[in-house]
Amino acid sequence: MLSRRSLLTAAGASGIGLTAAACGSSDGGGTADGPVDMGAEVSALSGEISVLTPDFTGDARAGLDDMIDQFMENNPDVSVTVDQVAWDKLNEKLSTSIAGGVVADVIMAGVGWTPPFAEKGIFAQLPTDYVEGIGLDEAILTSSTFDGSYYSLPIAMDLRFVVYNKEMFEAKGITEPPATLEELAQIANDLTGDGVVGLDLLTTNIRQAWIHLLYAFGGTLFSEDGMTPTMHEEPGAKATQWILDLIDSGGVDYNMQAAEGQPTPFMRGEAAMQLLSTAAWNDWSTMMPELTEDGAVGMFLLPGGDGNDPVMFQGGTTVSVGQRSQNQDAAAALVQHFMDPAMLAQGNAALGKVPPTADIPETPEISENLLTSFALEHLDKAGAAEGGSAAWMEIRGNLQPIIEACLTGQADVETTLSEMKTLSDDAISRI
C-alpha cells in the first residue's frame, strides 16, 4: 500500500512530469531559421498539411474546400486538412495547439498578429523577393512585417471608411463629403438632431476606431522597430480629444453601439454617417437590401487631420506558414496557391471581403459589392492598422478599457495617454 509520503512524492513527480510534458514541445525554434522555400517543385511535395482558419465559416466553407481541391489536383501527393475555429477562439486554439506540440502548417490570423507571432517563432519568414513579386501595395503590406522581414500575407481584407445617408446630406444642403476632420466634425454636428446622431463612430470597434483616428492625425502606435510606443504623443491626444468633443456636442453617441446581429443605427436611419467596415455588406444584403443598391449610400475615406491624407483602416485575414511545420515546402506551396489572383478572387467572393489587390479576375460577388469596389479603388490609403510591435498581443486587450474609460468620462486625456504608454512600455520590456 502507498504510504502518505510516497503518495505525495508521486503526486509531485507527476506534476513536474506534466509540466515538463507541457513544455516539451515548447523549446523555441522551428524547423527552419531563414525564409521558407517558395520554389519547391511539385514533384517534390508530398505528405499531409493542415490549415488553421478563423474564416470561411458557414456557406463560405465551400469556397475554401474548392480552393483546396484545386491545390490537391495540382499537387496530387499532398493532402490538406482544415481546422476551423471562431475568430474569438483563435488565440486559445493557437496556444493550446502550441502547448500540445501540434501547430498548423498554414495559419490564418488577423492583421496586427504578425509581429507577436513572428517574434515567438510561430510564423515562418517569407522570402522578400516572393512577397514583393506579388505586387501588393506597400500600404497593404505594412502589417505583414516584423524586424524588416515578411511573415504573413494579406489574403482577405476588411477595410474601413465612412458611409453616409445621401438624403440626410441633401436635406441639410451638404453637397460634398468632408475633406478634413474638422469638416467631418462640423457635418456630424449639423446632422445631429430629430432622433438622428451625426456620426456613428463606435459601433464597429471602439479601439480600432480610435486607432483609425490616430493615423488620420498622422500618428502611429509604435516606432518603426516596434520597441517604443508613440500612440501617446500629440496625434493620440488630438484623436482622443476629437472624439470627446463630438461626444460632448452630441455628434457622436458613445452608447450608440449595435448588439451582435442587430441592425446598426445607420441601417435603422438613426445615424447619418457611420465609420464602417466592408464586412457590413453581408448584413446589408440580408437585413437592408435597399442599401446595397447602386447610389443608395455615399462613401468617403476618413479625412486626415492637420493636413494629413485620408486614410483607411486595415483589418482582415493574413496567411502564414507555420514555423514549426514539418512540411514547410508543401505549406509554402499552399500559401502561394491562396495568393494566386484567381484564388484571391474566389476566396474573397466567398467571404465577402476585399482582396489585397484589384488585379484579380472579375467575379460578380466582388464587382457588385459596392463597399469592396470602393475599398479596392483606395487600397493605397489602407495604411492604418493595429499591431506594429511584438508586444501587441499583450497590449491589445488592455488598450480598449483605457480608451473606454476616457470616452465614458472616467479618465482625462492626459491620464489616458499616460496609461497607454505605461501599458506599452511594460509589455515591450518583456520582449
Partner: protein
C-alpha cells in the same frame, strides 16, 4: 460557569496500548471503504490535485507556451498585487456576490416556501423558476443581449419607452453594466437554490409547526423561528456553492460584456482568461488562478463561520 466534569485528582484509568484489529468485520468494512473511495480519490488526485500542483509550479515562472518556462520566483505574485485590473475584477466579483447572492437566496427561499404548499399548478411554477438554471448560459446571455439591446428594439428599452424612460445603455454604460449583469445572475441563480431549499423543506419536522400553531405563532414567526433555522445546513451549502459559482462566472461575462466597458464588469476568471489566452502570459495567469483558489478557500471558511455550519453540514 460550567463545572468541570473531571477533577485533576480523580483517578485516571491506566492508558491501554492501542489495539489494532487486523481482521474481523470492521477491518473488512474499512477495506471496502478504501476500495470504494479509491476511484474518487484517484480522480481527485489526477484531475484536481496534480493540476493544482502544476498550476502552482507554473505560477512561479514566466511562461508564454512557446518558450520553456523560466523560474522567476514570486514575480508573478508581486505583479498581481500591482495589477489594478485584477483587483477591479475581484471587487466586481465581490459586488456581484454581495448583492446577487443574498437577493437570489432570499427569493429562492420565498419561492421554495410558496411552492412547497399544495398550490394548483405548482409543478409548472417550479419548472418555470428552475428553467433558467438548466438553460445553457450562452443561450441565457444571448437572450439578455436582446433584452438589454441599446436600441428601441430591445425588450427592456421597449418596456421603459412605454413609460417614457430611455433608451438606456444597459451594457455599455460603466454605471449600468454591472447592475445589469447582477440582475442576470440573480435571475439565473434562483432555480437551483430554490430546488435545494425545497428538498430541505421536506425534511423539516411538521411537529414543530404544529407545536408553534398551538403556541399561537403566526406565519412570519414560524418562518423566522422554525423554517430559517431548520434550513441552516441548506443555507450554508447554497451560500458556499453560490460563492464558488460566482467567482467562477465566465461565460456570462464573455458573451454579455467581455468585461467592459472600461473593466466595469470584468471578473477574476475573465481576467485570468485574458492574461492567458489573449496576452499569452500563462505563468501570470497560473498565479492569478492560485490566488483565486486561495480566495475561495478563505471565503468557504468564512461562510461556514457566518452561517454557523457544523461538521455535519
Amino acid at each position: 460557569m460550567t463545572a468541570s466534569t473531571t477533577s485533576p485528582s480523580a483517578p485516571v484509568a491506566a492508558p491501554t496500548a492501542p489495539h489494532r484489529r487486523r481482521s474481523g468485520p470492521r477491518a473488512a468494512e474499512a477495506r471496502w471503504g478504501l476500495i470504494l473511495a479509491a476511484p474518487a480519490a484517484l480522480h481527485t488526485l489526477i484531475w484536481i490535485g496534480i493540476p493544482i500542483v502544476v498550476a502552482f509550479l507554473l505560477s512561479l515562472t514566466a511562461y508564454d507556451v512557446v518558450t520553456r518556462p523560466e523560474f522567476n520566483g514570486g514575480a508573478n505574485y508581486v505583479r498581481i498585487f500591482q495589477d489594478s485590473i485584477f483587483w477591479k475584477a475581484v471587487l466586481n466579483n465581490v459586488i456581484i456576490a454581495g448583492v446577487g447572492i443574498p437577493i437570489s437566496m432570499f427569493l429562492a427561499l420565498v419561492f421554495a416556501v410558496i411552492l412547497n404548499r399544495a398550490l394548483p399548478g405548482r409543478g409548472v411554477f417550479r419548472v418555470m423558476v428552475f428553467l433558467p438554471h438548466i438553460t445553457a448560459t450562452v443561450a441565457v446571455a444571448m437572450i439578455w443581449l436582446w433584452i438589454y439591446s441599446p436600441s428601441s428594439s430591445g425588450l427592456m428599452n421597449t418596456v421603459l419607452g412605454v413609460i417614457g424612460i430611455g433608451p438606456l445603455p444597459f451594457l455599455t454604460s460603466p454605471t449600468l453594466a454591472l447592475p445589469a449583469v447582477i440582475l442576470v445572475t440573480i435571475w439565473q441563480g434562483i432555480g437551483l437554490k430554490m430546488l435545494i431549499y425545497l428538498a430541505a423543506l421536506q425534511g423539516v419536522n411538521e411537529e414543530l409547526y404544529e407545536a408553534s400553531d398551538i403556541d399561537g405563532a403566526n406565519f412570519v414567526q414560524k418562518f423566522f423561528h422554525i423554517t430559517v433555522p431548520m434550513l441552516r445546513p441548506a443555507t450554508f451549502f447554497i451560500l458556499v456553492t453560490a460563492l464558488i459559482a460566482n467567482f467562477q462566472t465566465f461565460d456570462l461575462i464573455y458573451i454579455l460584456t467581455e468585461g467592459g466597458p472600461a473593466n466595469a464588469t470584468n471578473v477574476v476568471t475573465y481576467r485570468i482568461y485574458q492574461t492567458a489566452f489573449q496576452e499569452f502570459r500563462f505563468g501570470l495567469a497560473s498565479a492569478q488562478s492560485i490566488i483565486l483558489l486561495l480566495m475561495l478557500i478563505v471565503l468557504t471558511f468564512f461562510s461556514r463561520r457566518i452561517v454557523g455550519g457544523t461538521d455535519g453540514d
